[in-house]
Amino acid sequence: MAATATNILVRLKRVDIWLPKIVIAPSFAASLFFVYAFIGWTVYISFTRSGVLPRYELAGFVQYVRLWNTPRWYVALENLVVFGVLFMAICLVVGIILAILLDQRIRAEGALRTIYLYPMALSFIVTGTAWKWILNPTLGIEKLMHDIGFASFQFDWLVNREMAIYTVVIAGVWQSSGYVMALFLAGLRTIDDEIIKAAAIDGAGPARTYLGIVLPMLRPVFLSAVIVLSHLAIKSFDLVMALTAGGPGIATDLPATFMYAYAFQRSELGLAAASAVMMLVTIMAVVVPYLYSELRAGRR
């Protein structure tokens, strides 16, 4: 009797050695195909002369040469730098200030936090639609200022080639700064009160305490916020489509809208693939070192 029982147990155990791998297999296969093989395909196509239809004869760097000779690509890159730097900097400043202020034992903290963060739950299309109306050059904020009494107030950024990219910054900051606040608030809560008290006893004022002691301790939070924000900035697509559709003209084109336009509107597969590969490389340059250090830290 006992022998058969052990026997069954052993046999069950043997099944259990294989089952976890069998269970993971479909997801892992999906990942290999839909992520790695797809990236491989896109990279391959970026080295061909593919136009409307994919062609599979390799042609070297011809698409990359074309890409870097396309003025519109430079517009997209310049916009990405302007948008990315401002978006990240303002989100960080606003988010950190809000987190520090909220951390002063505020009575309505829960409600305020909810209000600051709700834009994160909205689609960028909804955000874009709302801000498009608010920034409307005739009926929007301009009209409001006229009604209040500033008759000469002018606000035409949405249709102004030079300024339109800043409207994307305004809407993007509105949507994402609450997220930075939440990250830093969680970080502040992990800091030992004793350290801050000690600083106060040593005579450090609030500003010195935060700038000199607390914020440097939050370096990991800082890092993940920068990673998340840069990731959001490089992938930005929805917001631009809803707010300006890349216009006026191509004034607010970003790499993501550039890629979409060449892939699905102009049917230049090779060039679109090359621009997508450039986006991938940029994001990897930011994310891979971070991911590597995170995974290593996790193993320790």
Partner: protein, 297 residues
């Protein structure tokens, strides 16, 4: 020592302190207004007839509030050439989001369990390789995905979108459940094994009953991400099968006739309501997902 300890900083309790608190609340209040104002403007605008929009301004309250723009946005506003409102597209989004969330969450749960409680050789490598998928810009898979959907006969269908969202959601759902199950004691698994429970027995009878918090966080995260998706929607569907976000964008961009700002705003509110409801009722879990997603973005 006439000092009171406020979280972190020691401050004397006096007039200066009171003044500082007032300034603090004023700043926090102004920021609250900044975040709320766009939504308030949307609601006000959606309730106004068109003449009042032209006559008034962004924050002038509606004198004759009307639900007509909302009904039009739902029922008869033009999206491209079709003038049937958003309703069909909202159902498209529901038909896309429900199965995609279900599949990706279930797969993520069992993946997370297998990766942490049955640590086989290479489990970390497999997880690392899968996690990579959470970071890629989706532009890099758009072209091959479009071709694959075409070959599978799923181009322009909701089923195709379900497949896309399930596949690219796996990295996140696996991450969420892995992080959850890592915190579950291995002793529980060993005890269940001694009692004769196998891989699936332990999963269904021991792990799943413990996992509702992980499920709530994952479902909310996936629901919000997939409902709000625009890129896959616009790239892989056309016309009738558009999800709500794409239809909203098309509705606002439709430039036939008079621009009806009130209908645009009503449509935006309609498209936002499902995720807003989730946020209002389960905000705590939404924030937790965001924190876990910090790794991702």
């Amino acid at each position: 020592m006439n000092a009171r300890q406020v979280h972190g900083i020691v401050r004397p309790k006096n007039a200066v302190h009171t003044a500082l608190r007032i300034v603090l609340f004023a700043i926090l209040g102004l920021f609250a207004l900044y975040y709320l104002l766009p939504f308030i403007v949307m609601v006000i605008t959606a309730l106004k007839p068109l003449e009042e929009i032209r006559g008034g301004n962004l924050i002038s309250l509606p004198r004759n509030p009307t639900l007509e723009p909302t009904l039009r946005a739902w029922d008869s506003a033009c999206v491209g050439v079709r003038c049937e409102g958003l309703k069909q597209y909202m159902w498209n989004s529901v038909a896309m989001v429900v199965p995609a969330v279900l599949f990706s969450t279930m797969l993520g749960a069992i993946n997370g369990y297998a990766l942490t409680k049955w640590r086989f050789r290479g489990a970390d490598l497999i997880f690392g390789l899968m996690l990579f998928g959470a970071f890629i810009p989706f532009q890099v898979v758009l072209l091959p995905m479009a071709r694959t959907l075409g070959i599978l006969g799923l181009a322009g269908t909701t089923t195709g979108l379900v497949l896309v969202h399930t596949v690219y959601g796996l990295a996140f759902t696996t991450l969420f459940f892995r992080n959850f199950f890592v915190g579950v004691s291995n002793g529980i698994v060993q005890a269940a094994q001694i009692d004769g429970a196998g891989f699936f027995g332990i999963f269904f009878r021991v792990m799943l009953p413990m996992a509702p918090p992980a499920f709530v966080v994952t479902v909310i995260w996936q629901f919000t991400q997939i409902w709000n998706d625009f890129l896959f929607g616009i790239a892989f569907t056309a016309g009738d099968s558009n999800p709500a976000t794409v239809a909203l964008n098309n509705l606002v961009a439709s430039s036939t006739g008079v621009k009806e700002y009130n209908v645009d705003m009503a449509a935006a509110i309609i498209a936002a309501i499902p995720t807003l409801i989730v946020y209002v009722f389960a905000g705590k879990y939404f924030v937790r997902g965001l924190a876990a997603g910090a790794l991702k973005g």
